[in-house]
């Protein structure tokens, strides 16, 4: 179902839905929980993804893994961008394919996503060069309803799931269908955003074609000197791991009082930390900083690509913003491509 609606009417309708669950704005510079219906007026749908990673709603920084999380209240995520949908795709693959993580599954099933297009990309955005787009269409990963923009005041709402279809039917049924002109206007906004991202990245990388990043990063073991140089400035703060919406590694902490009072939790872990892969006795498969640095890139572009056939990097650019050493993932990849003699500007 697709409808045309103006912005004010849309916000008013959301206000009617306020008590259906908890509402989180996923589009302003920071996530925030809507405390009252008036908070809907603070939501800015056209900004890029928030600073924090979206995983905080599905796979919290610290969570008990002995007890089951029971989540009955619906959580509405409003304004989720395509890069964050891509992150949810990675997390779903890790936590609810093969082996089902019950706590993740419970949280995941309680979520309803109102995604939105991303018409104003930032300098650090690079989704478009990773086979992704700054807007949501049929190729995007599961959302319930998508919001796209016709102009400053008018929107298109589009359902992508049964849940979304039901919401549109229940709350938005008396709105007209979008016209051909509406779609054309929307498409030009989408094209503009896409071109903007390619333009921002022009000095780094061109669009990914023919598994170029995978193939390049897979065989870089002989390029130790490049990895060493690129990782030189890294202070191993773990910022990029924590802020990454698709980094999912965790550490299990055991602190049971006794064998009948079991207690353990899991916290996010960081593959840049020295102790991450160290084993008892002190041996460490990734002793040196450049090995751990390389591992993060290869995990995203090689290992998970081999496992899932898609990159575990979403192009959200959070790691570029967070890095105190100003390490830019795009520059690192560009320098590797150059070192391999790949033509990057074609």
């Amino acid at each position: 179902m697709k409808i045309h609606i103006n912005y004010k009417e849309f916000i008013d309708k959301l206000k009617e839905m306020f008590d259906k669950g908890d509402w989180i704005s996923c589009s302003n510079s920071h996530f925030f929980k809507l405390q009252s219906i008036n908070d809907f007026d603070k939501v800015e749908l056209t900004t890029i993804r928030p600073t924090e990673p979206i995983k905080i709603f599905l796979f919290q920084y610290r969570s008990n893994i002995i007890e089951n999380i029971k989540k009955n209240k619906t959580l509405f995520l409003l304004g989720v961008k395509n890069c964050d949908l891509q992150a949810i795709k990675v997390l779903d693959k890790m936590f609810i394919s093969e082996y089902i993580d019950e706590n993740y599954k419970n949280l995941r099933e309680s979520i309803i996503i109102f995604s939105s297009d991303c018409p104003k990309p930032n300098q650090t955005c690079f989704c478009a060069i990773l086979n992704s787009k700054p807007y949501i269409d049929n190729e995007s990963y599961s959302t319930d309803i998508n919001i796209s923009f016709i102009d400053e005041k008018n929107l298109i709402l589009e359902s992508f799931s049964e849940k979304g279809e039901e919401i549109l039917k229940n709350y938005f049924s008396n709105f007209a269908q979008p016209t051909k002109t509406d779609f054309e206007k929307r498409d030009s906004i989408r094209d503009f955003a896409l071109k903007k991202i390619l333009e921002f990245n022009n000095e780094f990388l061109k669009e990914e074609k023919k598994e170029k990043y995978y193939k390049t990063l897979k065989n870089t073991y002989e390029l130790d000197n490049v990895w060493q140089k690129e990782s030189e400035k890294c202070v191993q703060c773990g910022g990029c791991n924590f802020i990454c919406p698709s980094c999912y590694c965790f550490l299990i902490r055991e602190y049971s009082k006794s064998y009948n009072e079991k207690n353990r939790d899991r916290v996010w872990d960081v593959c840049h930390f020295t102790g991450y892969s160290r084993v008892a006795g002190g041996a460490n498969p990734r002793k040196y900083k450049y090995q751990r640095f390389r591992n993060r890139y290869q995990c995203k572009f090689v290992y998970r690509y081999e496992n899932f056939n898609f990159y575990a990097c979403t192009g959200c650019g959070r790691c570029i913003e967070v890095c105190p050493a100003k390490i830019d993932i795009r520059k690192v990849i560009r320098n590797l491509l150059l070192a391999k003699g790949e033509e990057i500007l074609v």
Binding site: F95, C249, S277, V279, A283, P285
Partner: protein, 273 residues
């Protein structure tokens, strides 16, 4: 989340193998049976201290109890070594894929172990002994640092009597008259054996450096990468391929291993570090 919740096991018996290695016999408190495939590992919890992965050294045909042979190397094993018979520990698992025993049928099985690395291999050997007629022959090459560091000293006399099982042992160094078998690193035993390389599988387990040089030696002896099986160890922590700690290339040791063929690992950088 029952997956991460260990079941309580009672320590029935503790055998002191060497000054820093002990074998613990565990039995489920609720008297249930514990089934595993040889080569699979379990996560052992010392409550309040930590959890670590170990491969049982007992036969999978024994389902009442499991044996774990553990070296004292870290914080958790330090506490474990101070525990007494009757104490309670936690076990979850088994996890991973074990030894592909079916693929060893009608072949010569060459088992090479170093130090405490004999633990998972003991489970394999006990499995092979149960059905010894299915294999052409079994050769065990075992190396330890000194005669004191040899584990399962009480088992070798029994094993040496078994027809179809050939045993060669070495120690790196020893006092005069202390050892009447080979002196040298375990790879030198490989020069003493007589196998039909084309119809042999080699199974290796031991410290990283030993695994590395043994693999190189086997490759030199014209073993194909698919004929060499390695028991890999990293800090497998969740056991389900989720937490990321035991990642090796695109594999997770806990889920895709811990037994790998050299074919799977040969292109991964520093697999033995």
């Amino acid at each position: 989340m029952s997956t991460y919740k260990p079941k309580n096991f009672k320590i029935l018996k503790i055998i002191e193998e060497t000054p820093n290695i002990k074998t613990f016999t565990l039995k489920p408190l609720d008297e249930t049976k514990f089934n595993f495939h040889t080569g699979q590992f379990i996560e052992l919890t010392v409550y309040g201290i930590g959890e670590a992965p170990f491969t049982p050294s007992s036969s999978p045909y024994e389902t009442e109890t499991i044996d774990l042979t553990i070296m004292r190397v870290g914080r958790m094993t330090e506490v474990l070594h101070s525990m007494k018979e009757g104490d309670i520990v936690g076990v979850r698992g088994p996890y991973g894929k074990g030894y592909p025993v079916e693929e060893f049928k009608n072949k010569e099985v060459l088992i090479i172990g170093g130090g405490v690395g004999l633990a998972p291999l003991r489970s394999l050997i006990l499995t092979l002994i149960e059905r010894i007629s299915e294999f052409k022959k079994i050769i065990l090459c075992y190396g330890a640092r000194t005669p004191q560091d040899v584990v399962y000293k009480y088992i070798f006399p029994k094993w040496k009597k078994i027809k179809g099982l050939e045993i060669l042992r070495s120690v790196d160094r020893c006092q005069v008259d202390e050892w009447d078998e080979t002196i040298g690193v375990v790879t030198c035993l490989l020069d003493k054996i007589n196998v039909d390389v084309k119809n042999t599988v080699a199974i290796v387990c031991g410290p990283p450096i030993m695994m590395k040089f043994t693999t190189l030696k086997l490759v030199e002896k014209k073993f194909k990468p698919q004929q060499i099986y390695l028991s890999m160890e990293r800090n497998m922590s969740c056991g389900l391929g989720k937490c990321g700690h035991c990642q090796i290339g695109s594999y997770f040791i806990c889920k895709d291993g811990p037994v790998f063929s050299w074919e799977q690992l040969k292109d991964i950088p520093e697999p033995f570090e």
